[in-house]
């Protein structure tokens, strides 16, 4: 009998709501404690055809039952302990408010498709949150195996409201109204309530596909029945002979609705960045060669490509075997990168829409349920290409603070510094007072970099200087 009492083990901070099934980690492994009821649900799931297919295709996180594994006492579920599952480790966690439209859409569709297949075999998801989906690169993976349970006759889908609030409404808002959902989902983890959603829509919107039922009627019923308990309503439903076929019809309708939701943004400021960038083809090849050689000497496992734009350099890092978190503040560019990677079937590049000067804070219970980027895993190599001038001039972060932040990440660094005469810098400075950003200059940057890093290599490419550096 193996046990983990001797090693350090702790609950994964985002997993505490479900008393029957909680995730903990020990010795780098991701494990799940099941209560007796949850084990019975898992056995039903493991016996189903759709689950083995989803394991095969990778749509559901790789999972195995550990016989005779005893979790340490602090990691036994509150509802009693029965068994432990081991899950595949997801390379890097991300949250729905960091996903561009197409990612939230695909994550939502994955949940609905799994639901449809599960229902055929007498199983159902007990919730409907996109936090149950994570990514292997640009491939969505459903991670909450504990979310599947046996279907009970006469019961509706408990997760429908949550699905509306965290998946359907955000997608509708961005698709129908061009209102970005990311600040809303970041502002309230629970998502957008039906009444709030209704108030965000115009009269015209009420007649758009799916709005009248899923939003307007939903909000009205919620208000009209706020005094009644859900248990009462469920019992009535059971008496009326509510059938699993009806859940399936609802889920099928939701899937058709989500599939048709589309977001066609205008051209964003930077999404055509490569076309207008300061490089000619030859310089671009030199830049690629510089990055390639830095990756070869560092052999990083995890790369952060900050300001990834079209993912050109993320792809190089992925080709060299790294897992890449490709961050950009421009949702249009990230959405486009995601769609390309999805078609390519990439499992090594995770695109995230994230503004580095207003990055994801620690959120939820005690601020640790959904961690900040830096708490989810540290990179071995950071690519900061075409980034510094946007932070220093565009967002007014002092150059010294930018360098300190990068040094605190503790990773090797490839950084590009465009001089004051660089066309992009000129463009950014033209919006400022003439004497603005006196600290922005190659000489100062060089000195700042040398204080926190050892510069291994530098190369001048046109009006830009590339550095490869290691933290001191």
């Amino acid at each position: 009998m193996s046990d983990a009492t001797t090693t350090e083990a702790s609950w994964v901070s985002g997993s505490f709501r479900d008393y029957d099934s909680r995730v903990f980690s020990t010795a780098g492994q991701i494990l799940r404690s099941l209560s007796p009821a949850a084990l019975a649900d898992y056995e039903a799931l493991a016996a189903s055809r759709f689950f083995s297919e989803a394991q095969e295709s990778g749509a559901v996180v790789q999972t195995e039952l550990l016989a005779d594994f005893l979790p340490p006492p602090q990691c036994k579920p509150p509802a009693g302990f029965a068994a432990v599952l081991r899950h595949e480790r997801i390379p890097f966690l991300s949250w729905p408010f960091e996903w561009p439209f197409s990612m939230l859409k695909d994550a939502s569709l994955l949940m609905l498709e799994l639901m449809e297949n599960a229902l055929d075999e007498g199983l159902i998801l007990k919730d409907g949150t996109p936090y149950n989906v994570q990514w292997r690169g640009a491939t969505p993976v459903f991670i909450d195996v504990g979310s599947f349970e046996r279907l009970r006759e006469g019961e509706p889908w408990f997760g429908y409201r949550q699905f509306c609030m965290q998946c359907l409404y955000p997608l509708m808002l961005q698709s129908y109204r061009e209102v970005p959902y990311r600040p809303l989902l970041r502002g309230q983890l629970e998502g957008i309530a039906p009444e709030q959603m209704r108030n965000l829509l115009s009269l015209r919107d009420r007649f758009r596909r799916g709005v009248l039922t899923n939003v307007v009627l939903h909000a009205r019923l919620e208000r009209g029945h706020s005094q009644r308990s859900a248990t009462e309503a469920r019992q009535e439903l059971k008496r009326a002979g509510f059938k699993p076929e009806l859940i399936k019809a609802n889920v099928g309708r939701l899937a058709r609705l989500v599939r048709r939701l589309d977001w066609k943004p205008g051209r964003s400021e930077w999404s055509d960045y490569r076309e207008i960038s300061a490089y000619d083809e030859e310089e671009l090849r030199d830049k690629e060669a510089f990055v390639e050689s830095a990756i070869a000497t560092t052999a990083p496992k995890l790369v952060w490509d900050l300001g990834a734009n079209d993912g050109r350099f993320s792809r190089i890092a992925a080709r060299e075997g790294a897992y890449v978190v490709a961050v950009d503040g421009d949702e249009v560019a990230v959405d486009r990168l995601y769609r390309e990677l999805r078609v390519e079937g990439s499992e090594r590049i995770l695109p995230l829409a994230l503004d580095l000067v207003d990055s994801s804070p620690g959120m939820g219970w005690r601020g640790s349920e959904r961690q900040r980027l830096e708490e989810r895993g540290r990179p071995d190599l950071v690519l900061a290409l075409a980034l510094v001038h946007h932070l220093a001039i565009g967002a007014n972060v002092p150059l010294a603070a930018v360098v300190d932040w990068l040094a605190d990440l503790g990773a090797a660094l490839v950084i590009e510094f465009p001089a004051r005469e660089d066309p992009m810098v000129v463009r950014l400075l033209s919006r400022k007072r003439e004497d603005a950003h006196p600290d922005y200059g190659l000489e100062n940057f060089d000195a700042l970099l040398a204080r926190r890093f050892t510069v291994a290599r530098r190369e001048q490419l046109g009006s830009r200087m590339l550095f490869e550096a290691r933290p001191r």
């Binding site: 709501r17 479900d18 008393y19 029957d20 009821a37 509802a79 007990k126 919730d127 349970e149 009970r152 509706p156 889908w157 408990f158 997760g159 429908y160 409201r161 949550q162 509306c164 039906p194 039922t213 899923n214 009627l217 939903h218 909000a219 009205r220 019923l221 919620e222 208000r223 009209g224 029945h225 706020s226 009644r228 308990s229 859900a230 248990t231 009462e232 309503a233 469920r234 009535e236 439903l237 009326a240 509510f242 059938k243 009806l246 859940i247 019809a249 609802n250 309708r253």
Partner: protein, 63 residues
Amino acid sequence: MSRILIGYLDPGTGSVILQAILGGVAAAAVTAKLWWRRVTSIFRRGSRSDAQAEGPGSGPAQS
């Protein structure tokens, strides 16, 4: 035992009722479809050929 039966998420009373309504609409649609088939099948049986019966305006009255 009731805790296990209820689950950890509050499904929301309004949301439960809405699912019943949507389900009811779906069920009614199926019933209506079946009923409609039964009605149209009477005419289909009465027509000379299937091709004719499916054409617009065709039916026993015109044959």
